[in-house]
């Protein structure tokens, strides 16, 4: 039994996904909590980091994931066992147990056909009535929004549903999704069950016709599962295999599944063609993939630069459900107007604050659930604009957690105020406050006569340098920079303006310049739990040279950027920048020697954005919890991660 317990923590959510998708988001998270509370036994040494991830944050958190196990048949007994075990833990939360409770009367005879019929009957009104409702309310909102005085309203839009459908496919999709919900709530539990049963049966039937599933598999699955839902099983399984085989992440509640449809997984393997095609179909941003990509980094997304922005711009008014603030932030990510982990995170959170401010719960919906879904759709949009940084993933997880934890008794305005202040507090405490503390710690390490080296333009380090200068410490700064972003120049400009004496060099000269350096201050995009520092590309090189010269390397990183993931190289997870950025020099036509070679099949550009610095090269990590060696990162992750989410 002990051997099965650990896998269970991983497999559990998969089982949950098999169940009823109508069960609410807060439900699933609360059951998880419940599970944590009522069942402390499986929370053995290794499991807490896994179980603390709330299902709502899952797809965002770039967790390292066990390899896909669904392909092998030996998972099925395991799943069965898991199901059994889980139903013992919290009987109400899982579909299996539900199905067992199910009154046999309604599904005894030929469950598939019978219930399919009922599904058809009940689904037709959904299709016909609901878009109309949506349009009506839209029209009403419109006519009320403009003051009528002085203007003559010559034409009022009372759009037939068909027309609106043409307007934008995406909108309609989301509409239908939204619209189908209230109706679902009207139906009784039994009806809902029948509908689902029928859907599943239909899917299974369709699948059986295709004959893709070997009968043996379905039989073995069915034998482990409850007898009533025989045809249901293979379909869900296929679902999982196709959607999530490589994704291999724990799956949470129903909204999770919905979002899967909307968003490419943040860590999607882009060399898997079938999945890329699928993701492309639902993408908002048109993404033309670059042609010549470096083989090793094929799993990372790389798009033809310059095609995305104009396309997104032209769609400005067509993305109706998008909040303007989110849209603006997305555009800024895409165009590179905002870069840097902290800034991106703050910009996103501020956009979310706007979202919360302008939010009003649609009728017959639950704030917690609807807002989570909204935020999820925004996040998937932001991912399309630029892959999330780990810090943003953590922040999103925090926001979602706060939404899920909102007491149901709160009124809408109270809930909104609470959320806004929560986000505000996250920005103030976890980002700015953390920076202040880091500055306080780090300044003690700067002595008179020091020569400090920094690379790129890390916000925390800049604050440290400025503060040290204010304290009248005498030191010199070496700003090391690299093409193509040349962020160091911006830092340099600001430092010089404050009267700090600086030296500016490029990373090519690092081995020479390192002789005179006494301390190296670096920023980080994230610190992983094996002490690896994931940061701007080039950081690893600087750290390595520094450690070779026995120069202490201090990494300044706010604790909200820590992540429990373990990464050994910078290949498996990285981001590819615009290849043109390294092949061209802006404004210098005379040295653009690679002109015209961009599409040559023999030439591949690699513009990596991040690299991973092994913990060996790092002397100390300065965070808001103090100065720690890289080996202590897991402790901070373990002890404070929960606190992060709670603030």
């Amino acid at each position: 039994m002990e051997s099965r317990r650990n896998p269970r923590a991983v497999v559990d959510p998969k089982v949950r996904q098999v169940g009823f998708f109508t069960s609410s988001q807060p439900d699933s998270s609360s059951t998880q909590q419940q599970q944590q509370q009522t069942d402390p036994i499986p929370a053995s040494a290794s499991s807490p980091p896994v179980s603390t991830i709330s299902p709502s944050g899952n797809s965002l958190s770039p967790v390292m994931i066990p390899p896909p196990r669904l392909n092998s048949s030996d998972t099925f007994p395991l799943r069965g066992a898991a199901a059994g075990a889980s139903s013992a833990v919290s009987p109400s939360s899982f579909s299996y147990s539900n199905r067992r409770d199910f009154p046999d009367g309604s599904t005894t005879a030929s469950p598939g056909r019978h219930s399919r019929g009922s599904f058809v009957k009940s689904s037709t009104p959904v299709a016909s009535s609901l878009p109309g409702i949506g349009m009506d309310s839209m029209a009403a909102a419109k006519s009320s929004s403009v003051p009528a005085s002085g203007l003559t309203t010559v034409s009022v839009a009372t759009m037939p549903p068909g027309l609106a459908e043409k307007a934008s496919g995406m909108e309609v999709q989301s509409d239908q999704k939204k619209n189908s919900k209230p109706l679902k709530e009207k139906t009784t539990k039994a009806e809902r069950r029948a509908i689902q049963e029928a859907q599943r049966a239909a899917k299974a039937a369709a699948k059986a016709d295709g004959g893709k599933v070997p009968p043996g598999t379905s039989a073995s699955v069915a034998s482990t599962s409850v007898k009533v839902a025989k045809p249901a099983k293979p379909s869900t399984q296929k679902n999982e295999v196709s959607v999530a085989a490589g994704v291999t992440e724990k799956k949470g509640g129903p909204s999770e599944k919905d979002r899967k449809k909307d968003a490419p997984h943040p860590r999607m393997q882009y060399d898997d063609e079938s999945r890329v095609v699928k993701a492309k179909r639902r993408a908002v941003v048109k993404q033309t993939e670059a042609k010549n990509r470096v083989e090793l980094f094929r799993h990372l997304p790389q798009y033809e630069h310059g095609t995305q922005l104009p396309d997104l711009e032209t769609k400005f008014f067509q993305l109706d459900p998008m909040h303007p603030a989110v849209y603006k932030v997305g555009l800024q990510y895409l165009s590179g107007d905002i870069s840097g982990g902290n800034a991106r995170c703050i910009a996103m959170l501020q956009a979310f604050q706007e979202v919360v401010k302008d939010y009003s719960t649609p009728p017959e919906k639950n704030l917690n659930r609807d807002m989570t879904a909204k935020i999820s759709s925004y996040v998937s949009f932001l991912i399309e604009c630029r892959p999330l940084s780990i810090s943003m993933g953590n922040a999103i997880r925090f926001v979602k957690n706060r939404i899920a934890k909102l007491p149901i008794t709160l009124s809408e305005s109270e809930a909104k105020a609470a959320l806004q202040s929560d986000i505000e507090r996250f920005i103030n405490d976890k980002i700015i406050g953390a920076d202040m503390v880091i500055v306080k710690h780090a300044v003690t390490k700067i002595r008179d006569g020091d020569v400090l080296l920094t690379y790129g333009s890390p916000t925390a380090v800049e604050m440290i340098l400025l503060h040290a200068h204010e304290l009248k410490k005498k030191f010199r700064v070496l700003v090391v920079d690299s093409r193509p972003k040349l962020e160091g120049q911006l830092l340099l400009r600001r430092l010089i303006k404050r009267g700090i004496s600086c030296t500016y060099t490029h990373i090519n000269a690092i081995s020479y310049i390192m002789h005179e350096v006494t301390k190296v201050f670096l920023g980080a995009s994230s610190v992983l739990s094996n002490g690896t520092v994931y940061s701007r590309v080039g950081t690893a090189c600087v750290a390595m040279v520094a450690s070779a010269f026995r120069v202490p390397v201090l990494v300044c990183c706010e604790a909200y950027k820590f992540h429990e993931r373990v990464q050994l190289d910078s290949i498996c997870s990285n981001e590819l920048g615009d290849p043109n950025a390294i092949s061209k020099v802006h404004g210098r036509e005379d040295i653009n020697y690679l002109d015209g070679l961009t599409n040559n099949a023999n030439l591949q550009f690699l513009n990596l954005m991040y690299d991973a610095t092994p913990s060996d090269y790092i002397s100390m990590i300065i965070t808001d919890y103090g100065m720690v060696p890289p080996t202590s990162v897991p402790v901070i992750v373990r002890e404070y991660q929960k606190e992060h989410l709670l603030v």
Partner: protein, 454 residues
């Protein structure tokens, strides 16, 4: 998206005089048998902008336009028509409807454009830079019927070489200078501080202002209030904003308010750090650099969106442009017309009657219920609804509006025949405009004339 759309549809434009009349305001001039306003509305509708304010000069015109919109766009768009006094200019028109503007940003579209440039792109650029005004620039159209090979009109379509002169920064994002090409005689003044701040300015004459603007509402209203003398958006407001972008008066009040608000806040320090982080994260535009160099300076941004050259953009602001638009919509830019073309690249309405041995060439359009007699030839022309055309008539490169009557043996080249006009037998017109309801006597030969009742 918090945008309001204002369409400036004008009134009875003076430079289109024989074509527009009391019955037909500029917005309703037919382009390929559809009012020109419908192209704008279609463009906006396809971009999911369904809540529009149409501003028309003059009550009569407003009634006409309103009547047409309500018949054509009912159930599709939510359109409100505002009538403003005549000859108060575009700025005046906006002043008149200022109290209806509530959104954060205003998209102002001229009502006489035929284009497929998505206005969303302007709005997105505007938002991305948080600009005060964003101007859409597009390539100068090839004017005159030169490429279509029409022999007519070549001599009279010598337009001024450049319509607008614009100055851009090196990233082609900001507008540093704008002037009308016709206004510049020999020399012009360029603001030195802007030039210094930007470092480099690219002056271009191959771009022209497309009269699609996105304005920040607060700023626009402020400027309109403070400068009552401003009459035109393009000639007064826009150059003013561009000129003052480094010593901004307009947005300063707002910023002060914001700063005061911050000052009261206990978290003031945090706010400062926050804004610093955000501003440090991005590549500073020259505005920010300039601002940081001199304290207490306020700047605002004037951005441009340069439309793709493959996009079509025509403004209907002269008679020649009217001919060009009609030709393009039936010819090269036929996806804009919304009609499906036959195999011969022309549109002949099924109810139109053609006599024997009559040919209708490519890039032609024959409206509903029109009758064409025997042995006629129609080339590159648009013929409206219920026209009656006799035998042996030759129509080339022309526009014939609804209900016109053309007698036998007429020859029409490069001309515009307005609705209800009548051409008696064997009249020969070349580069002429015939006012609505005018009767051209039989047998006359006319070249480059304008027929209008005095």
């Amino acid at each position: 998206m918090d945008f309001q759309v204002v369409i400036l549809a004008g009134g009875f434009s003076s430079n289109l005089v024989p074509l527009v009349s009391k019955e037909v305001p500029k917005a309703l001039l037919p382009v390929a048998n559809r009012p020109v306003l419908s192209y704008v509305l279609d463009l906006l509708e396809s971009n999911n902008l369904k809540d529009l304010i149409v501003v028309v000069e003059g009550e009569d015109a407003a009634l006409k336009v309103g009547g047409w919109i309500s018949s054509a766009c009912v159930d599709r768009l939510h359109v409100e028509v505002a009538a403003v006094a005549e000859n108060i200019g575009t700025a005046g028109a906006l002043r008149a409807i200022a109290h209806h503007l509530t959104a954060k940003d205003i998209l102002i579209v001229s009502g006489d454009i035929v284009s497929d440039i998505p206005p969303g792109a302007v709005a997105a650029t505007h938002r991305r830079h948080d600009a005060v005004v964003t101007v859409m620039l597009c390539a100068q159209p090839v004017s005159g019927p030169s490429e279509s090979g029409g022999s007519s009109g070549k001599d009279k379509t010598k337009k001024p070489a450049c319509e607008d002169i614009v100055g851009l920064d090196s990233w082609k994002q900001f507008l540093l200078y704008i002037a009308k090409g016709t206004e510049i005689k020999k020399d012009t003044r360029v603001n030195k501080s802007i030039l210094c701040a930007a470092g480099k300015m690219e002056l271009r004459s191959d771009l022209m202002d497309s009269h699609i603007y996105a304005f920040k509402r607060s700023v626009l209203q402020e400027v309109l209030d403070q400068k009552p003398a401003f009459r035109s958006l393009k000639q007064d407001v826009l150059p003013y904003l561009v000129r003052t972008q480094l010593r901004s008066d307009v947005s300063s009040d707002q910023n002060n308010v914001e700063e005061n608000g911050n000052g009261k806040d206990n978290m003031q320090n945090n706010e400062v750090v926050l804004s610093q982080i955000l501003s440090n994260a991005s590549l500073p535009s020259f505005h920010q650099v300039y601002e940081s160099g001199l304290d207490s300076r306020k700047t605002h941004k004037c951005c441009v969106y340069i439309a793709d050259e493959s996009k079509i953009f025509v403004r209907l602001n002269s008679i020649q442009a009217f001919m060009d638009v009609n030709r393009d919509v039936i010819g090269d830019a036929n996806h804009l017309s919304g009609y499906s073309f036959s195999a011969h690249h022309n549109i002949v309405h099924p109810s139109a009657e053609l006599g024997s041995k009559t040919t209708v060439g490519p890039h032609c359009m024959l409206g509903e219920g029109s009758q064409v007699g025997d042995k006629c030839s129609v080339k590159r022309s648009v013929i409206g609804r219920h026209c009656r055309i006799g035998s042996n008539v030759k129509i080339v490169n022309s526009v014939v509006m609804d209900h016109a009557t053309i007698g036998d043996g007429c020859s029409i080249q490069g001309s515009v025949i307005c609705s209800n006009a009548q051409l008696q037998e064997r009249a020969t017109l070349r580069d002429c405009q015939v006012e609505a309801g005018y009767i051209v006597c039989a047998g006359g030969e006319h070249k480059g004339e304008t027929f209008a009742r005095r």
